[in-house]
C-alpha cells in the first residue's frame, strides 16, 4: 500500500466517543420534524403529496415515467402515508430507536417525498440526506438513545465509534460552503458589481420576511458589507480544515497561534451570526436552524461534553435556592 493510501486509511481509522454524533442524531431529525409539523399545522400534509388528478399537488404521483417508487408500490394516493411514515422515522431516528435502520429508512422516505413533489425539495434537503446516510452508518445511536438505554448504557460510557463519520460531516459542510461561495458568479456578488447581491435579494417580495424597500443609503452599505462578508466567508471556509488540524497540536507555531486566537470558534461564530441574519430577514424555512444544528460536528466529543457540563452547571446554579 502506498504512503498516500496508508494515510487515507489512517485518516478514517480513528475512534472517538459517540457524544458529538449522538447530539447531531438527536437534533437533525427534530429539525425535519418541525418542518413536517409546519406542513401538518397548515393542513397541507394530505394534499402536498397527493396526485394532482385527485385534487392534490403532486404531478408525479401518477406520472408514467417519473412515478415515485413509493407510489408504484403503495399506490399514487399513498403520499399522505409516506408523510406519516417519515414523521415516525424522524422520531425513531432522533430518539435512537433502531438507530441505523431508522436513519437509513428516513433517507429513503425523505427521497421519496422529493420524488412526489420535486420542486419543494431544496439544497438543505439534499444535504440532510447526504449526512443522514453517514449518520446511519456511524454508530451515533450508541449513546443517548433508546438503543443505548436498552443496552443498559444510556450515556455510552466506555463506548467508542469510528471518527470517520464526523470527518465526513466536516468535509461535506466545508465543501457545501465553499461551493456555495464559488458558485456565486453573478456580478452583484463581487467587487465589480459593488457587492449589491444582498440588497437585491432583500427587495424580492417572495423571499423577504418584511419589506426592505425604501431604506436609505445606510442600508445599502450594511448589505454591501453583508454581501462581501458572506461570499468571502464561504469561499474561505476550507480554512476550517486548517483550524481543525491546528486543534490536534500538529501544526507547529502556526497552529498554536490559531488556537490562541480561537480561530475555529471565531470562524463558526461568524457562521452563526450569518445564519441568524438570514433567519431574521429571509423566508428560508428550515435552512438556518438546519445548518446550525450541524455545527457541533466541528467539536470533539470531549469538547461537547465539557460544554454540556458547563451549561448544566450554570442551569443548576440558576435554579438553586438562594441560601441565607
Amino acid at each position: 500500500m502506498s504512503g498516500l493510501a496508508r494515510r487515507f486509511v489512517a485518516f478514517f481509522d480513528t475512534t472517538e466517543k459517540p457524544t458529538t454524533m449522538a447530539l447531531i442524531r438527536v437534533l437533525m431529525p427534530l429539525i425535519l420534524l418541525t418542518d413536517l409539523g409546519h406542513v401538518w399545522m397548515l393542513g397541507l400534509h394530505d394534499v402536498m403529496w397527493f396526485p394532482s388528478e385527485d385534487g392534490g399537488w403532486s404531478v408525479t404521483a401518477n406520472h408514467v415515467d417519473d412515478q415515485p417508487l413509493w407510489a408504484s408500490i403503495f399506490g399514487p394516493e399513498s403520499g399522505t402515508m409516506l408523510f406519516w411514515v417519515t414523521v415516525l422515522l424522524c422520531l425513531t431516528t432522533s430518539t435512537g430507536t433502531f438507530s441505523r435502520t431508522s436513519a437509513l429508512l428516513l433517507v429513503l422516505c425523505y427521497a421519496q417525498l422529493e420524488d412526489f413533489l420535486p420542486v419543494s425539495d431544496r439544497a438543505i434537503d439534499r444535504l440532510y440526506r447526504n449526512l443522514l446516510l453517514v449518520l446511519a452508518c456511524s454508530g451515533a445511536g450508541k449513546a443517548w438513545s433508546v438503543d443505548a438505554w436498552l443496552a443498559g448504557n444510556l450515556r455510552g460510557v466506555g463506548v467508542t465509534i469510528g471518527g470517520w463519520a464526523r470527518r465526513l460531516f466536516i468535509l461535506q459542510i466545508v465543501w457545501m460552503y465553499f461551493d456555495a461561495g464559488i458558485e456565486k458568479t453573478a456580478h452583484s456578488w463581487g467587487l465589480m458589481g459593488h457587492y449589491d447581491a444582498l440588497w437585491i435579494i432583500l427587495q424580492d417580495p417572495v423571499m423577504t420576511r418584511v419589506d426592505f424597500t425604501g431604506l436609505g443609503a445606510w442600508f445599502l452599505w450594511v448589505t454591501r458589507i453583508g454581501t462581501a462578508g458572506t461570499v468571502w466567508w464561504e469561499m474561505l471556509f476550507p480554512l476550517m480544515l486548517v483550524a481543525l488540524f491546528a486543534e490536534t497540536g500538529r501544526l507547529g507555531p502556526l497552529g498554536e497561534r490559531l488556537r490562541r486566537v480561537h480561530f475555529r470558534e471565531v470562524f463558526l461564530a461568524i457562521g452563526v451570526f450569518f445564519h441568524l441574519c438570514l433567519w431574521a430577514t429571509l423566508e428560508l424555512g428550515i435552512f438556518p436552524p438546519a445548518m446550525l444544528v450541524l455545527y457541533p460536528c466541528f467539536f470533539a466529543p470531549e469538547e461537547v461534553e465539557r460544554a454540556a457540563h458547563w451549561f448544566s452547571g450554570r442551569s443548576k446554579a440558576n435554579t438553586a435556592p438562594a441560601s441565607g
Binding site: G55, D121, R129, L171, D179, A186, L220
Partner: protein, 212 residues
C-alpha cells in the same frame, strides 16, 4: 470492519460525490444578448476578463460560455452515470448554488377575486398587510417553492392554484372568479427607491366559479 475495507468504501462514496460536485451550470440561452439583465451580466464579464488580457465581444464570450457549459454538462453526465441510480434512489448529490444569481427584476405574487360589482379585488399580495389572505400559507418553504416563479412557475403551480382557488371561491361566495398572477418589478437600482411593478400580469391562472 477492517480499516482498509472501510477506507475503500469511503473512497467510493467520496469519488461519487466528487463527480456529482462537477459544476452543473444552467444552460445559457441565446437571449442573453437581447435580455437587458442578462446582457448587463454578460458585459460585466467582458469587462472582467478584459482585466486578464482577453477582450472578446459579448457574442464571442457567450458562445465560449455556451460551449463550455455544454461540455461540462456532458462530462458530468458521463462521469456520474455509474452512480446515478444510487444518487437518484437516495436523493443525494452535490451542487450548492445558493442565490447564485439574485434577480434584479423579482416577481410579486398576487391573488384576486372578481366581484360582480366592484371588479378585481386583491386578497393576497406579497408583503402587503392590506391583502394578506392566508399569508401563513405562503411563507411555508415548500409552498413558496411552488409559487416562486423563477423563469416560469413549477408544474405543481397549476394543481396548487386549483386547490386554493376552490377554497377561495367557497370563502368568497359573491366572487365569480379567482385569479393567480405575478407582476414583475422594474429593474432594481441598488440604493434607489423601489421602481414599481409592471402593469401587465404574468403566468395568470384564472378559474371561474363552476369550473373547479
Amino acid at each position: 470492519m477492517k480499516a482498509e475495507i472501510r477506507a475503500g468504501l469511503i473512497a467510493v462514496v467520496l469519488l461519487s460525490q466528487a463527480l456529482a460536485a462537477i459544476p452543473n451550470p444552467p444552460k445559457l440561452a441565446d437571449n442573453a444578448l437581447t435580455d437587458p439583465l442578462a446582457r448587463d451580466e454578460l458585459e460585466g464579464w467582458v469587462k472582467t476578463v478584459g482585466y486578464v488580457g482577453w477582450n472578446p465581444t459579448p457574442e464571442e464570450l457567450l458562445t465560449f460560455a455556451q460551449d463550455w457549459v455544454e461540455r461540462l454538462k456532458s462530462w458530468r453526465k458521463a462521469a456520474i452515470a455509474p452512480f446515478q441510480p444510487v444518487l437518484q434512489f437516495t436523493g443525494t448529490g452535490q451542487g450548492w448554488g445558493l442565490f447564485a444569481f439574485p434577480d434584479q427584476r423579482p416577481y410579486r405574487f398576487e391573488i384576486a377575486v372578481l366581484e360582480p360589482t366592484s371588479g378585481w379585488e386583491a386578497i393576497y399580495v406579497d408583503l402587503d398587510p392590506e391583502a394578506d389572505y392566508r399569508s401563513e400559507l405562503f411563507v411555508n418553504r415548500r409552498v413558496r417553492a411552488i409559487y416562486n416563479p423563477g423563469k416560469a412557475p413549477a408544474p405543481a403551480f397549476q394543481p396548487f392554484t386549483k386547490w386554493l382557488g376552490k377554497q377561495i371561491l367557497d370563502e368568497y361566495p359573491d366572487a365569480v372568479a379567482v385569479r393567480f398572477a405575478f407582476r414583475r418589478s422594474e429593474k432594481l437600482v441598488p440604493g434607489e427607491p423601489p421602481p414599481g411593478y409592471d402593469t401587465k400580469l404574468k403566468f395568470i391562472r384564472r378559474y371561474n366559479r363552476g369550473t373547479l
